[in-house]
Symmetry: D3
Subunit: 165 residues, 6 copies
């Protein structure tokens, strides 16, 4: 009886694979290539808070150091956070911040050799760095907004280079 069940189920599975059910896309036959993704995010804050960040005077500690490390951990955690992301090995990860009058601009880069790209790792790192800035500054500014989280550039893989216009 188990055999019949098994037969049916395998058929059913095969059937479903042709349709739109939830699954981690099969990347088995894709080529391992050198890949890189660059993403960004912006955190809009009061000018007075930007100044405190710059001067390392915020009450909870050095905002940008905390945001960098939270972002680096987040890049590594991406497949635990985003359901259909494949676990792929990061070989390099950097985060840089530019302080503007009314915002912190975050840029993240993630590199590795894999069968699929590092877009979600770079985007997740940018989002978590932004959330960390939010958390550390919220006693000072109740109206913070995180915006424009997006991919800037992607290289490697069959689809080639993408640069956001």
């Amino acid at each position: 009886m188990t055999d019949v069940w098994y037969q049916n189920s395998i058929e059913c599975l095969a059937l479903k694979e042709g349709s739109e059910h939830m699954q981690m896309v099969d990347i088995s036959t894709k080529e391992v290539t050198e890949r890189e993704a660059v993403a960004q995010g912006r955190v809009f804050l009061k000018a007075t808070v930007i100044k405190l960040i710059k001067d390392k005077k915020t009450p909870k500690g050095d905002v940008l150091e905390a945001a960098k490390i939270a972002g680096i951990f987040a890049a590594k955690k991406t497949p635990e956070i985003i359901p259909l992301c494949h676990p792929i090995p990061i070989t390099s990860m950097g985060i840089a911040f530019t302080l503007k009058k009314d915002q912190v601009h975050i840029i993240t880069t993630v590199k590795g050799q894999a069968k699929t790209g590092f877009e979600m790792e770079a985007l997740t790192a940018a989002s978590v760095a932004a959330l960390t800035i939010y958390d550390m500054c919220k006693p000072l500014d109740k109206d913070i907004v995180i915006s424009e989280i997006k991919l800037l550039k992607k290289t490697g893989g069959k689809s080639g280079t993408y640069v956001r216009k």
Copy 2:
């Protein structure tokens, strides 16, 4: 000799507690109150992709179901992701989506009884739901943007109710 060391270190720590070093803020003496936070996020997508999401025709599976569950898990994971967040017990968590012409609008609500608020839980859930939508739609639209992640409302605690204007 250890005693001397210890003495000095405790002094040093006490000293530092008066200044701006990194730390999880002490909430020991804050009152446990019923608290709620409502946050939002927006994911800007092509109109054709919005239609596919609505019709559950995207290739990787049902986008909004995946985004809901990823967001719920993320709310629970917040203190693992954001360095200075206190672990506080969530008693309720909901995520709702509104499909507009060019965007998915995400609203998250988190509730609990705690000594500090659930803002970061609601914001992290909104961010991760947005990233999940990004991940599941990126084969269909290379120019997705996540924006306007922000707190909409907060109740409970000494500082009282906040509603974003």
Copy 3:
């Protein structure tokens, strides 16, 4: 414009809360009571392998010690593994094994003071203990089966005591 959006979204969320969308059930108004859950699982193995487990002669190490610790960790991880489980504080956790001719019988108990029960913690611990036994014995028996994972008993909370018949 944000205000209008916000208004609409809150309405939309309120609307949805009356219907069947995904959410962590609101336990805010439930009472904190002493609660306990007892669950079980069975792992069916060849008699020769049962003997090796008893004699601590399996090639990868002491199977039951590994299964106990994996089960204890799993009880604590439950809200990270099961989407809609609330994080609730475990105050005690035990795992016991009975070696029978053709099976390992696992019993788990989890206790705590909370607004909701520890059924999923006890069941998750039993499942992970069973999977660990499977993993450590699979070089010795290719036909292992895990069965009868179920709740045996539950006490505390408004619904009172449940004992499986």
Copy 4:
């Protein structure tokens, strides 16, 4: 003195490696091959609950969508849950459900290129999908049973193809 200690300890370790102490088996010299594992699980539920699942009318949300995502996350988390599992890269993962009169039949498939197989990943995904169904249906049926979690098929590696009879 450290040298003597070190000498002795290395000897002691070497000694132990010849006996049955706990360890992650050394797979360094095994070949990387394309591997696949198919596993199953069954969740026995009242016929009335099966109907509610089918009609997406269960109170906590869409049961099968939640179970799929929980199962996919669990496959990726396997080495964090099962003590002696090696971390190996999944390239594809699918979950399918068949609703029968008195049960949900779960089938999971996991693929990748690795030095060891994906059996535990497929079994863990099936177990966690089953536990998620249990969690979402327990307000409707107190007597749920999870059974017959087992490997159905395994391909790749030196030991070749296994199909459960």
Copy 5:
């Protein structure tokens, strides 16, 4: 038959609870009190490396900021890392460093209201802060040693205050 099984197993479990099997100690009946733990660790490094740390000139980034955040995350992760630790809510956490000629001296303090103490949280934070310093300095010094990880002080709970002599 299940009943008989169940009966026996419960007996067996009861029996085992009187003996020395593995378990998370039952803290249900212990009182919730304000508790604090202070721990320390030392990382021995070359004087030249201590100077680079002080001047924030190490190649991988600001060592002490990274160590603080890693330590704070580790305190929160303690029950996931140490098998029999109960999950208890931290309300405050601080890390301070003293740079000496040949070492970094780490002091950690953890506070909360709970039924058991925060010793392991403070010790785990000190260990992970030390390991992070090791990781960030190992390209500069191959002979780093981490030593004297120990509890300095503990207050709260039935056993009262402990101060290491």
Copy 6:
């Protein structure tokens, strides 16, 4: 305008890459080689407690079994715990203990094929095994000290073999 921003930011990132900001070191161009790391740790305990460990008579369960499994899990968790560690695949992991009159001596070995070494994995495993021994013995000895966590040996990679003198 986005273009200008983007331009500037990329420049800014490039600029920073030449200086000492926080980052996961780029290992893309390093060669994958067979690598092994051996580390140690010592836990100093009263002689009476050492005897209880040996006789498996400690109240919380078998100390060394728990420490082994906690150490194995910790080796796998290393990149989640230490900020700048790359995720690299472990192919083998062993832990051995030597009971001396006043201490438990822990030796860990980790092996794999990777672009960077397994030092931090071996050191993290030794630290967590030591912390687990601490946790399980602290009701019996309040003055436990963990010491001499250090690398003993490292092979593989461009820098060649290292043996601590």
